[in-house]
Symmetry: C2
Subunit: 322 residues, 2 copies
């Protein structure tokens, strides 16, 4: 379990985050699709965070975190470990805030992601591709540099930042019946839940999780945090686990978490590319797969869907690998 030693975020943190990051983030569009409505029987409103800077919602949380600290607190820069979107998000936010960013990346990270992080001017330290090596390397970096650690999900500032996507969506479409978001570390889902219930406590919030990385589903069932064992999924952004901040928010605010298999995730991803002509990554397709699989829940409803990101590997599309 990730221990944060922070207080739980509340709705006003999301509101403050929105004010703080508005100058730096894209206000992403909400798209609709007659074809997707027909296929699901629901009326869908897609909040397109694939169009966000760095190609994912992660920039919101990283940006809010970096602009929440004082210059004094950040005098030695920031650090994190990530092979994915959070690395780019922290690197870009640090460049905008004009401070050093130290990013620990596994040595087998895709070269396109390494290049992206480097292009934002971040300092990269490579390590073996295990969680243990990543954490040990990060500890060393944090000690050496006295940098501030920006956790990818279990952080009050990060959660509040991620919630701003749902906040914007509800400003554009206040009359949706429910909202669904993917869940990995839970930063996006808990932020979304805070935003939604801050606006309207009657609105349902749902989570969508890969079957092969279903720790949030099982934690919610058990009523206590369950650490995943060897999670595996094509939705590589959702392999991380809940923490001591994200879990209680999700337990209090999320009505249900649905799990779907990788086959359905890949099918849903392709469907969005074909019908909506937009690029989403596998993790972003998980809620879409859930919507297709559970008409008994969503049919006839107006559903806000957070499309979390668009950083798909164009050299290796999952439907060509199966």
């Amino acid at each position: 379990m990730t221990e944060s030693q922070q207080r739980l975020p509340v709705f006003s943190d999301v509101r403050s985050a929105a004010e703080r990051i508005t100058p730096y983030v894209h206000r992403t569009p909400v798209l609709t699709s007659a074809s997707m409505n027909q296929l699901t029987g629901a009326k869908l409103f897609f909040k397109c965070e694939n169009f966000q800077k760095v190609g994912a919602f992660k920039f919101r949380g990283a940006c809010n975190a970096l602009f929440s600290y004082s210059s004094e607190e950040l005098r030695n820069g920031v650090a994190t470990h990530s092979s994915g979107n959070h690395a780019q998000a922290v690197a870009l936010a640090a460049r905008i805030r004009e401070m050093p960013a130290h990013i620990v990346m596994p040595e087998n990270a895709p070269s396109v992601k390494i290049q992206a992080v480097r292009s934002y001017g971040a300092d990269i330290t490579f390590c073996e591709p295990t969680l243990k090596a990543r954490e040990a390397t990060l500890d060393k970096i944090l000690t050496q540099n006295s940098a501030v650690f920006i956790h990818p999900s279990n952080d009050v500032r990060v959660i509040a930042g991620q919630g701003t996507a749902a906040l914007e969506m509800l400003e554009d479409y206040p009359d949706v019946d429910c909202v669904i978001a993917p869940v990995g570390g839970g930063g996006l889902l808990s932020g979304t839940a805070l935003a939604v219930h801050g606006i309207n406590s009657e609105m349902s919030v749902f989570g969508a999780e890969p079957e092969g990385a279903d720790d949030a589903f099982r934690s919610l069932e058990a009523g206590r945090l369950i650490r995943p064992e060897n999670p595996q999924s094509v939705a590589d952004g959702l392999l991380t686990s809940l923490g001591d901040l994200t879990f209680p928010i999700i337990r209090n605010h999320v009505e249900q978490i649905f799990t779907v298999c990788d086959h359905k995730i890949i099918e849903a991803m392709r469907l969005i590319w074909e019908r909506m002509k937009i690029v989403i990554e596998p993790s972003a397709a998980v809620p879409v797969a859930v919507l297709k699989q559970h008409p008994e829940i969503f049919s006839g409803k107006r559903v806000g869907v957070i499309l979390s990101g668009g950083n798909a590997d164009l050299d290796s599309l999952p439907w060509n690998n199966t």
Copy 2:
């Protein structure tokens, strides 16, 4: 040369087309991209016809054609031959107009396109995959059914319909310096040119064409229509040739046609997917390749770019085939 026996379209035809088709077409968004601006040195405004119904601008022309004829004229329905976007466009427009559509398709057309045309309720006749067989089969269908032929490009109603994309773009961004569109049969480029010069006769209009199918470039150079010989390009929507309506409009209104090789087209297509997270087909990438290749023309300019369509084959991406 395609003989139309029609008058040349003028700007008021584009205006009328816009009024006629507005209830049926999507008003597609105009997207911008800081990253694409940086890469080209220009300020780009992308008119996203990949988000149009049937996934391409072709629906505008087909829709205008079908709604221009009287019910009496169309009592026996419409017909065309196409393996691509025009087939779907005519099929959908005919379904909306509630009349039969007879589509001649080559027997090797991709099954996904055949299914799309069939899903709109059109009647499909298959033929050998040669232009001669397509024309002969269409002639037979036209005679048998007394249907009205909807040419994919060399038709006054179709040209006027295609021009509505540029019209909308200039309503949103009247202060662009120039507009660029791809050219195959020339329906889109001639309609675009009419729309642009109807609004502002000082604005430059450019065409973008694959090197392997450069009949428009060569026709403009020669001052007369040159029929292409065995055109080949990854931009499979641009293999057709100009006709007796599209050529004179392009000659009078288009400042220059630039050609680019397939390698650059594929590179530009991938760039748009990666940086803008939208799906475009190879033909739509041709103007983007031109923008990258000619900074001496476009750098520092505000450029309207017609992204013509998004019907890419997701099973076979061109960068994985080279």
